[in-house]
């Protein structure tokens, strides 16, 4: 890949990315950024700090007096959560959900992008078809799959009955049984993720230099070898852009879970996001809910930071 970085006078790759010879302009850039920054601090920063404070109090919405801070009880909410079996279950469910959805979405999108890169007939129509799931709001995705996986009137069971795989009495309770509930949610989420990921990876694949592949072909490389040793490594920056965008949007899965199962039945599909809502909004325990929020925020930020750093690194290597 060293052959690729042909910019003369390479003076340390890191500084090249960070400072692409930008202009010095004194105070002016700060003036341009400050409106955006002030608004974000006001609407995201300050509320988050406030929620950190609330998380150290036993605040419940219906007991206004409970919003006061005492050092002795400050960590009570966090202690409660650490001893809460449902918290651990929702954390575990979230981790499993993320691990499976992110990896499968990425793998399937990669396969689909390689497939689409070879297509010779009706390319633009195919790309429009690919964008169809993008027209759906996450909440719509959830609604649609809740209907499809419905045990009595759902498309999936009806289809399975039609082709004789299951009996009319033996309908599968997709959204109820373990582990089918989680699997149904994952399928919905993957369906939602595929288009954007595929579009980015396809754009990357099409931008790769064809000479490299021709040279590999002359050397007798198989299709898989070409993918494994040329396409895949060269796509790294595109992969990380795709993964960064996905990690920023990953909490959209909440919408899907909320409408498909709402964490149920019997908390089988409870995740961090649904449990926060249940604690704070339904049980009005804002202190506890805020503590849980803070754990979730920390995890999301770390997750995004990781992919973002990889993205910066991948850009520099190229």
């Amino acid at each position: 890949m060293a052959a690729n970085s042909n910019s003369p006078g390479e003076k340390g790759a890191a500084t090249r990315f960070l400072e692409v010879s930008r202009i010095e302009a004194g105070f002016f850039p700060f003036a341009m950024i400050s409106p955006a920054l002030i608004l974000i601090l006001l609407v995201v920063g300050f509320p988050l700090l406030y929620s950190l404070y609330v998380s150290f109090t036993p605040y419940e919405l219906l007991k206004p007096n409970s919003l006061n801070f005492t050092t002795a009880r400050a960590l009570r909410n966090y202690q409660k959560l650490l001893n809460d079996e449902i918290f651990w279950r929702s954390l575990w469910n979230t981790i499993v959900f993320l691990a499976v959805t992110v990896n499968l979405s990425y793998a399937l999108s990669m396969a689909l992008s390689q497939l689409l890169a070879r297509v010779t007939v009706g390319q633009s129509l195919l790309r429009t078809l690919l964008m169809v799931p993008m027209m759906f709001a996450p909440i719509l995705v959830g609604m649609q799959f809740r209907w499809f996986f419905n045990a009595n009137v759902g498309l999936v069971n009806n289809f399975l009955i039609s082709i004789g795989l299951i009996q009319e009495q033996g309908q599968i309770a997709w959204l109820v049984d373990v582990p089918l509930g989680m699997i149904s949610i994952m399928i919905a989420s993957i369906w939602m993720n595929i288009p954007v990921l595929t579009i980015i990876l396809l754009a990357g694949t099409l931008s790769l230099p064809s000479e490299t592949f021709e040279a590999a072909e002359v050397d007798g490389a198989s299709g898989w070898q070409k993918f494994r040793f040329i396409t895949f490594p060269l796509l790294a920056p595109f992969s990380y852009i795709a993964l960064t965008i996905m990690s920023l949007d990953i909490a959209r899965a909440f919408d899907i879970v909320r409408i498909m199962t709402d964490g149920g039945p019997a908390r089988r599909t409870e995740m961090l996001w649904t449990y926060i809502t249940r604690l704070a909004i339904e049980d009005t325990k804002f202190g506890l809910g805020s503590a849980m929020s803070w754990i979730t925020v920390s995890l999301s930020v770390l997750f995004t930071l990781y992919f973002f750093r990889q993205l910066v690194k991948a850009r520099i290597v190229q």
Binding site: A25, P195, P237, F238, S247, I281
Partner: protein, 289 residues
């Protein structure tokens, strides 16, 4: 020795790949098309068993019910309120978020200054905060200022949520404009602001359109925050409005599908308009830093 596919062999391979691609993509799009068709089918076809796979008759009944043209339907879903609130919250927030995000994106793309990277990272990470987590303190704070159940309060939140991605996209678009152009503008006597306003901003209008559509859709589709901040139809947008079709044991699937089609309209326009810009906007920086 691995045989290379050449001549007729390769042609046959191509035909197989094409066929596979079409099958896979039709399967991907089918669920969505099913929802759209459902909106225009009579209820008897939807709720019967065995299922009617191929629509026999198309009707606008669902929309007549929704907009109160059917006198037999007593209780209606407040679709006009959802439409008004969705348009207001998404429209207002998009205009302001794109303006502020563009300013910030330009500064990040063009200038060197202290805390460049930490500021950029900080703004981007504010986007990673899950809506659920943000909705709790916002509810408590907005309650004090009378902003709960208020469309403008909602718009305020959407502005802040949309700035990071706008700034990111615009940073990418501005970096595609050669720096020499700016420098020659300075030589001709332009100040920083007029170089931005009169020369570079007009050049980045396609990028601006892409960013605006992204922001609009993000606000239009947002559910987590509005479901906490809007307690009634004064501020409810389409996404929480969908729940109006669910009762404890029954769901009006056709009504939901019909409203979904209305909800999709902006996204359909988006797909038609920005197919090209979308890719270049999202992947900028991957090719050459």
């Amino acid at each position: 020795m691995i045989t290379r596919s050449v001549g007729p062999n390769r042609q046959r391979n191509d035909r197989i790949w094409n066929a596979v691609a079409w099958v896979v993509l039709l399967m991907l799009a089918l669920p969505a098309l099913w929802i759209i068709i459902t909106a225009f089918r009579p209820n008897v076809e939807i709720n019967t068993f065995p299922p009617v796979w191929i629509p026999q008759r198309l009707t606008l009944e669902a929309y007549a019910n929704m907009f109160g043209l059917n006198p037999e339907v007593q209780q209606r879903v407040a679709v006009e309120a959802y439409l008004r609130n969705s348009l207001l919250a998404s429209g207002v927030s998009t205009a302001i978020a794109v303006a502020l995000g563009t300013l910030a994106g330009y500064a990040f793309a063009r200038f060197r200054f202290r805390f460049h990277t930490p500021l950029f990272l900080g703004i981007m990470l504010s986007r990673a905060v899950p809506g659920v987590a943000l909705s709790l303190p916002l509810f408590l704070l907005f309650n004090r200022f009378g902003l709960v159940n208020n469309v403008l309060g909602l718009a305020l939140v959407y502005i802040a949520i949309n700035i990071p991605f706008t700034a990111w996209l615009m940073d990418g678009f501005f970096r595609q404009i050669p720096k020499e152009l700016t420098e020659s503008a300075y030589i001709d006597g332009c100040g920083y602001w007029s170089a931005f306003w009169r020369i570079e901003l007009p050049l980045s209008l396609p990028g601006l359109a892409t960013a605006a559509i992204f922001a609009f859709l993000a606000a239009w589709n947002e559910f987590q925050i509005v479901s906490v901040l809007a307690r009634n139809n004064a501020a409810k947008t389409f996404p929480p409005g969908l729940f109006a079709f669910t009762e404890q044991f029954t769901v009006d699937w056709r009504g939901m599908a019909a409203m979904s089609v209305i909800m999709m309209a902006p996204a359909v326009i988006f797909v038609i308009l920005v197919q090209r810009n979308l890719v270049s906007g999202l992947t900028f920086g991957a090719v050459k830093g």
